[in-house]
């Protein structure tokens, strides 16, 4: 039994090597591999769509390779195999920062360019791309809410918890953006920020209470992906459709019904397909020896004016947010 298992494992290990042997022809081109957290999650399936599209339009060898499950160890092994295979660049969306760090160090030692996404704290990388800055995204959510509210009325903000880092940064940025750009809107003074605990039911109950207590409340700026759907349920039940509005992060298919019914006009998100393309484009630039400084244009939507994050030499932030509404909700496949 054990022997059989060992054989199977050996074959599994050999597969990528054989695969690589077949591809080794196009040596003048770069071989660039995108490694997502896993291969089956719709988010990364969508990323693969972007990667494949990029592959069609380039003479470089570009493909995505993921492990069947989300597993930090498997991901590290896969990256090691790719290093052994001698690829030119690795674009990784790490599962676990700590366990991937030493493997990435090996890659760079072997002369491989390393680009990551959602790994801003990694050290052994050439560059890390973030879809957006917290400030930029917060302002973007506010734009969305303001549009729904017609640029006027009382609103408040909702976060998972008052201690959550990015949510509060988004909310702060949203409020600042409103003050600068939407003079007819006002932040509800009595309840400037409420908590949803990343729980749709809490968001729903809190929203109900808010609308009951403050009859002139017109909008709730959500942050977590549970906020807007929960608030939307309250809006629908209280009979406030088209009278009260919400915005926030949300996955397309999860919220298809809400968007189609018109309770929520639009949600915001970043598109993994574009993030995947941006990583590859950046890798090519680095391999070509281009200097990465100032404002970087990768030629990918939302990633045409990347800027270094304040105080960082590796983290680049884009404007890769997108609006999801009833028209494009089925375009993403997740």
């Amino acid at each position: 039994m054990k022997k059989v298992l060992a054989m199977v494992l050996l074959v599994l290990v050999m597969v990528p090597v054989l695969f690589a042997a077949g591809k080794a022809e196009a040596k003048s081109n770069y071989e660039i591999v995108v490694v997502p957290k896993d291969a089956s999650n719709p988010w990364f399936v969508r990323m693969k769509v972007g990667v494949d599209e990029f592959a069609k339009g380039t003479h470089h060898t570009v493909y995505q390779r993921g492990t069947p499950d989300i597993d930090a160890t498997l991901q590290a092994q896969l990256v090691q195999d790719l290093i052994a295979q001698g690829v030119d660049a690795l674009c990784v969306v790490p599962v676990d920062l700590e366990s991937i760090e030493p493997v990435l160090a090996q890659a760079r030692k072997a002369g491989i360019v390393v680009i990551t996404h959602e790994g801003a704290d990694l050290e052994n990388v050439d560059y890390d791309i973030e879809a957006f800055s917290n400030v930029g995204y917060g302002a973007f959510i506010m734009d969305n809410l303001a549009e729904a509210m017609g640029g006027e009325g009382v609103y408040t903000t909702m976060v998972a918890s008052l201690t959550n880092g990015s949510h509060n940064e988004w909310a702060d940025a949203g409020v600042a953006h409103q003050k600068a750009n939407y003079p007819k809107m006002t932040l509800l003074a009595a309840e400037k920020r409420v908590e949803s605990f990343d729980n749709g039911d809490v968001a729903y109950n809190v929203a109900k209470e808010l609308f009951k207590k403050y009859p002139n409340l017109k909008g709730i700026m959500g942050t977590s992906s549970y906020d807007a759907p929960g608030v939307a349920r309250a809006i629908e039940e209280l009979g406030l459709i088209d009278k009260a509005f919400t915005s926030g992060t949300g996955m397309p298919l999860d919220n298809a019904a809400l968007l189609e019914s018109g309770i929520v006009k639009s949600l915001t998100l970043w598109d993994p397909a574009l993030a995947g393309q941006a990583m590859i484009a950046l890798a090519i630039k680095v391999l070509d020896g281009e200097k990465i400084s100032g404002v970087v244009d990768l030629g990918v939507d939302g990633y045409t004016a990347l800027q270094f994050k304040e105080g960082s030499k590796t983290v680049l932030e884009g404007e890769g947010w997108i609006v999801i509404n009833k028209d494009n909700v089925y375009d993403f496949g997740f």
Partner: protein, 343 residues
């Protein structure tokens, strides 16, 4: 008359009822919204899931045990049910989902019951352990993540209203979910069971003295085993109702709610040592917690002070009943003395 009054004041329910009333009036004064029709319906609707959970937790505590696994149990069974139905592209009504969830609940409850009744292990240890096992099964075997889309039948049933209450002033409306009937049914069922069946009296008897129950002829092992199966079933029903009402199945949202549920049960005068407590008190205690949790914004408590307020309420509430018990102990001993003199 005097006797009846004395009986009433020696019980816990009137006190908890007064506290409840005081809280309601406070909310009304602060917001002017509490006694509006839509708010009352909101409270009733928010009561469904915790209320069901509390019925189960109450029965376990009366039997002298404590169960901290019911949120994990409910999560596993509703998640498995929803996923199973989605995988088979289920298009039917809500009956089958409930039957499946109840089946899972019975199975998982039997797991608890086996260790607690047959192997006589401490309930807290067993349920702490099974709670981890259930969570692990959900995350490991079922690879759980949020299921934002649930079967149509469940979604529609979750939005179905018995009636819609409208606030004449603000025009706000609230739905009374059909699920409320399930809660009422469970409540009546539990009431009947605990009061009019030997099985239910057996739960009280075991909570009072397990040794005596055994000697009196109660089938202690079987009673406890069935009890945990039943609690598993009730918790799973509550879990599935929550999924239907929320229109999505989130695997970890319910975890952690056991503390407030148990607090509510104890608040309602149920002795944590077992044997004593009424379903009425248990419901009043749970209602108090539900109302407070869902009215902090109405009262105007700042978000950052929320947990302090709920915590304080639990301490005060349980303190009152603890004081009651102490007080009773005192009057008992002085009464005993008087009788001695009188003889």
């Amino acid at each position: 008359m005097k006797n009846r009054l004395k009986k009433l004041t020696s019980r816990n329910e009137p006190y908890i009822f007064l506290v409840l009333l005081a809280v309601c009036i406070l909310i009304e004064i602060r917001s002017g919204q509490f006694f509006s029709p839509n708010n009352l319906v909101d409270i009733a609707s928010a009561m469904i899931v915790p209320g069901l959970m509390a019925i189960g937790a109450f029965m376990v505590i009366v039997s002298g045990g404590i169960d901290v696994s019911f949120p994990a149990l409910a999560s596993l069974s509703f998640y498995a049910t929803t996923k199973l139905l989605l995988d088979h592209n289920y298009q039917g009504g809500v009956v089958l989902p409930f039957l499946i969830a109840i089946g899972f609940g019975a199975l998982l409850g039997a797991f608890n019951g086996l260790f607690i009744s047959y192997f006589k292990l401490p309930t807290l240890i067993v349920t702490l352990g099974s709670s981890s096992v259930f969570k692990g099964l959900m995350q490991g075997a079922l690879n759980s993540r949020q299921l934002a889309v649930i079967p149509t039948g469940m979604r529609e049933w979750g939005k179905k209203a018995l009636f819609v209450a409208k606030n004449p002033v603000s025009g706000l409306t609230s739905r009374m979910p059909v699920a409320f009937l399930v809660f009422l049914f469970a409540l009546v069922f539990a009431f009947f069971l605990l009061r009019f069946t030997m099985f239910g009296r057996g739960i009280y008897a075991i909570g009072g003295s397990e040794v005596s129950a055994e000697r009196a002829g109660f089938r202690v092992v079987l009673t406890k085993f069935l009890l945990y199966i039943m609690v598993g079933m009730i918790a799973s029903v509550a879990g599935l109702i929550r999924v239907c009402m929320m229109q999505q199945a989130h695997p970890t949202n319910m975890l952690g709610m056991e503390m407030n549920i148990i607090a509510g049960v104890v608040l309602g005068g149920t002795a944590i040592t077992g044997g004593r407590g009424t379903l009425l008190g248990c419901m009043l205690g749970t209602l108090l917690i539900v109302i407070v949790e869902n009215s902090l914004i109405l009262i105007g408590i700042p978000t950052s002070w929320k947990s302090v307020f709920t915590g304080a309420l639990i301490i005060i509430g349980t303190g009152v009943s603890a004081y009651q018990v102490m007080h009773q102990g005192k009057t008992r001993s002085s009464k005993g003395k008087k009788q001695e003199v009188a003889q």
